[in-house]
Symmetry: C2
Subunit: 154 residues, 2 copies
């Protein structure tokens, strides 16, 4: 595939089925997601919340008519760092058919450019320690694993 | 001090000077912050952005008339985890005069309760690996260091 032909844009509601499919088609994702027809309302409600929030962008990578990747970018103003904004990347996934072809890197590079355009001073994300290959992937893109990422499930 | 007398509320613009002072009064914070009179506009602008965003809450801990702690909580809808919302805690700091007295724990417990009220299924945060005591602090509160926290400074 020609990476120059991949287009990035905000997701539409019609893309949601494919997005949830991609998120569920993964070792960790298969335990967390509930991909079925029709899609559970919880996904649709989350999409609407993201779509109506100017500080959240759900971005898909498209190749021709096919959606081959997804990520969510959240922009947050903080008091720390003299009042700077940060971009947080979450839910990055590419379709199995294009894995290893550089689409994931292009997604993250796109997010970094988007963060710069929005005046952010940090791009951040957390990655599960059960995905060592993902850590290496992000380090190659310039991210530093300077922090512990802690989660508390309620 | 009597922890039962500590009150938590959303920060007001009048609290901002004290908040920035607390954030700057710290080994890592002293390198990042610019506490001076008058406060740089960047802090005021960040405060206004947070204050006008229903998904961001800047919370102070008060003891009598004194502000003794601060944290920011961001609520984010995600497609992952079947469309759940998460609370992210950032910029937690207590005043030196009350360190070791349990105010930090009360702040985090308050954030957890707030996250439950808002229907979140995860509370998350990242902590700098240069603060090993902070990692232990959060683990005692039930957080699992399951993720690497990666940052890219732009």
């Amino acid at each position: 595939m020609d990476l120059n032909q991949v287009i990035f844009r905000e997701a539409k509601i019609q893309d949601l089925d494919r997005i949830v499919y991609m998120l569920s088609d993964d070792v960790l994702g298969s335990k967390r997601e509930d991909y079925k027809q029709p899609l559970p309302d919880s996904y649709i409600n989350a999409f609407k919340s993201i779509n109506s929030d100017p500080n959240n962008e759900l971005i898909v990578a498209c190749y021709g008519r096919e959606i081959i990747g997804v990520q969510q970018i959240t922009f947050t103003p903080f008091i720390t760092y003299q009042g700077g904004s940060r971009a947080t990347i979450e839910g990055v996934r590419t379709a199995p058919s294009v894995r290893g072809k550089g689409v994931g890197s292009e997604l993250i590079k796109w997010a970094i450019q988007r963060a710069k355009k929005r005046g952010c001073h940090i791009v951040q994300l957390t990655t599960d320690k059960n995905r060592p290959e993902a850590l290496h992937f992000y380090e190659k893109l310039g991210f530093m694993p300077s922090h512990e990422g802690l989660k508390l499930h309620l």
